[in-house]
Symmetry: C2
Subunit: 445 residues, 2 copies
Amino acid sequence: MIPTELIRKKREGEALQPDELKFLVSGYVNDDIPDYQMAAFLMAVYFQGMSEPEMNEFTSLMLHSGTVIDLSFIPGIKVDKHSTGGVGDKVSIILAPLVAVCGVPVPMISGRGLGHTGGTLDKLESIPGFRTDLDIDTYKKIIEKIGLVMIGQTKNIAPADKKLYALRDVTATVECIPLIAGSIMSKKLAEGIDALVLDVKTGSGAFMREKDRAIELAQTLIRIGEAFGKRTIGFITDMNQPLGNAVGNWIEVVECVRCLKGENVPDLMEVTYRLAGAMIYLGEKAASIEEGEKIARRAIESGVAYEKFLELVREQGGDISFIENPSKYEKADVQEEVYLETEGYVEAIDNYRIGLAGLVSGAGRKNIVDTLDYTAGLVVHKKIGNRVDMGEPVATVYGNDRQGVQDAAHRVREAYRLSNNNVNAPQCIYGMATKDGYADYNEST
Amino acid sequence: MIPTELIRKKREGEALQPDELKFLVSGYVNDDIPDYQMAAFLMAVYFQGMSEPEMNEFTSLMLHSGTVIDLSFIPGIKVDKHSTGGVGDKVSIILAPLVAVCGVPVPMISGRGLGHTGGTLDKLESIPGFRTDLDIDTYKKIIEKIGLVMIGQTKNIAPADKKLYALRDVTATVECIPLIAGSIMSKKLAEGIDALVLDVKTGSGAFMREKDRAIELAQTLIRIGEAFGKRTIGFITDMNQPLGNAVGNWIEVVECVRCLKGENVPDLMEVTYRLAGAMIYLGEKAASIEEGEKIARRAIESGVAYEKFLELVREQGGDISFIENPSKYEKADVQEEVYLETEGYVEAIDNYRIGLAGLVSGAGRKNIVDTLDYTAGLVVHKKIGNRVDMGEPVATVYGNDRQGVQDAAHRVREAYRLSNNNVNAPQCIYGMATKDGYADYNEST
C-alpha cells in the first residue's frame, strides 16, 4: 500500500478499509510512516471525518497497540466514568469511592490537566504520599482488594494513541470528534471495564463549547463503546461555570472531602449523584438510574462513601491525616479577594477565563515541565443567578506567587458579567444519550 | 508566532497575514518548521484555499527564496509560455524558436515529465548533445545572442518551491489550485520575463480534468502574474487526446521538426499558432493576437522558424545533423501496431491511459532514477472523429523492451472507444482568459 494513496482517499472523503487503517496506524507506531504523512492524514480526517466502521477499527488499532487489562478474575460488572474535562470538575474523586462502596468495582485510569482544565491525577497527587504511577499488577491487586483504583496512563496503555496525540497537539488536529473519540475510547477500553458512563461537558469552560457538538461526541463515544460490547451511557452536562466552588488541586480535594462527609454543593452533587446512579445501574446493583441515585445518596449520608475514600487514600500510599484534618495542610502565602466594580446578578461567567485564572495562579501547567503549586487556585463565591452586592467578593484566589495571584484575580474579574435583572441558575444536566438516541431533559418534561 | 496557531487559523478558513506566511515558508526552508507541521498546513490549504493576497505573498516568498534573474539588459519584451502539461504536448519546441524569430525574446525554463505527462526537457535532451543543465550566466548569454534559450530549473530558482513540492508529492497535497499556482508562478517569475502566455489543459490527459477547474486555475495564475506586473493571457485547451500524433521524446522532436518545416498537424499547429500569436502580441510585435498568428504562420512558411530552431540546437550543444536528417537516429528494436477488435468512429480516447502507455513503453519514468528510452513512445494514427476500419491500426508503439511495448499496446487498445455513429472532432481551444475575465469561444461566437 502507498501512504499517499491512502491520504488521498481520505482527502476525497472515502472510508478506508480495515487493512488500510492498520497499514497507517501500525506503520506509524513502527516508524515506517513518517510524521509528515500522518499529519496530512490527520488533517484530512479533520475535514472529512470517519465512518462508524472506520472509527471502530481506528479505536481497536490504538487499543491493541498496547496492553488490554483483563479484570475478569474480579467478580461483578466493572464500570468507569470518563469526563471530557472542565473547570472545577472534581467529580471522579467523590464518585469512584461512592460507586465502589455500593458494590460496583471502579477501575479508573485518569489524566492530568490539559489546557485550561484540571486533571484528576494532579488533584489526587496533592494528597501527601498519594501515588498514581502504579504498575498494572498493583492496579489489579488494589481493585481486587478494595473495589476501586485510580491511576495514570502507563506506557503500556494504547501507545499508538500517545504518539498520535503528541502529533495532533502540534499540528492543530486535536479538535476532531473521530480522533477525540478514538483517543478516549482506546484508553478506556484498555482498563478492563465492562461498562462506561460518559460526562460530556459543554459551555464556555468545555472543549465542546456548543451543545450540539457535545451531543455528537457523546453519540460517537457511545457507538464505539457499544461496538466493543460495553454498555455505555452519556450525560451532557453544563460547563458554563466551575462545577462546585473550588478550582485548583488541594482545594478541590478539600471540597470533595466535605461532599463525601455529606455537605451539599448543589451542582457538583447533582452531577455526581446522576453519574453514580448510572454507574450503579450499569453495574446491576440498581434497577434504574433513579434507584441507583437513591442508593448513592444513602452511601453518602451513612458515611460509608467517605470511609471508602479513606481506604483508597491509604491503599495508594496517601496520608489520611490530611483528609481527616485538612487544616494540617500548608497554606498558600498569598490570598486575594476579587471584587467587581458594579453590583447585580451574575448573568454569565467566562469559564475558559476562570480555568486560565486557576492555571496562572499556579494550579496548572503553562508547559509540560511546570511543577504544580498544590495550594494554588481559587474559590468562586458567586455563581450564575447569585446576587452580588457592592463590597462583596465574587471569588478568592490563592497561591504562592504574588504576580500569578494578581494575574488570576484580574482574569476572574474579567470573566464575570452582571445584570440588573434576576437571572435563573443554569441547568446542570442537559440530557442523556444512549445507544438508542438522545433525550433532552427540557424537551422530555 | 506559534506554528500550530497558524495551522489552526488556516484550518478555520481564515487568511494568514504576510508576516505569518513568511514565518511558515521561511521557517520551513530554514528547517525551523518541521515537515509534519507544514504537511498539516498544506492539507488545511487544500480544504480552505488561499485568498488572493495570500497567494501573491506565498508566490513572492517562494520566488524570493532564490535567484530572480534580471534580463532587463536585453532589449524587447521577454515573453514565455507555460503549459500545465499533457500527453504529446510538444508545443514549446516549435513555439520558442517561432516566437523568437518574430522578434520576441523567449527565456524558457522547462520541466521534466511528471506522472503520465511528458516534459520539454526530456524531449530536448533526446537530441544528441543538447544540454539543458546550463547555469544562469550561460542562460543570459544565449538569450542575448540568439533571442531564446531553453533550460531546466537550476538549484537557485525558487528553492522553497522545490522543498514544498517534494513534500506535497508525498502528502497528497499536489492537486490544490493555490499551491499549484504558487509553484508555477514562482518559477516563471524568476526567469526574467515581462509577460506570460498560459496553456491550461483540460480533459482526460490533463491534471485539471474538468474545464471549470482549468478556468479557475487559469484565472488564478493570471491574477498572480498581473499582481507581479506581468501581462498574462491564458488559453484553455483540449487534452482529451494527444496533441499531434507522437507521444515520446525523440519521436515528438521529429514531429516538431516536420511542423517547423511547414507540415500541418492540425490540432498541434492550431494551438501553437494561437499561443505564438498571443506571445507576439504581448511582445508588442503585433497589434492583436490575430495579427500575431499571421506573422507566426509566415515565419513557418518562410522557413525562418526552422532556421532559428537549428540555431538553438547548435547553441545548446546539439548535433543538428540529426535534425536535418532524422533517419540517422537509432531505431527502436521493437515496434507493434495496435488493432482494435471492432470498427467505427473514434468517440473517445482515455488520454491518461495513452500517457501511461507512453510511460511504460520506456518514454517516461516510473520512479525518479529511471533512465529514458528516447526512441520509445507511440504514434496515434486515429484521433477523435476518425473512421477506423477493420484491419486498420489505430496506433504504433515503439520501444526497446518487448514487454514494455506489449504493455503499452494493451493500454492503447483499452484507451480507445468506438461508436457506430459519426463523431465530431473536438475543439482544440475552448477559450481565452485574461485579467478581465474568461471568454469561451463557443459562447462568444
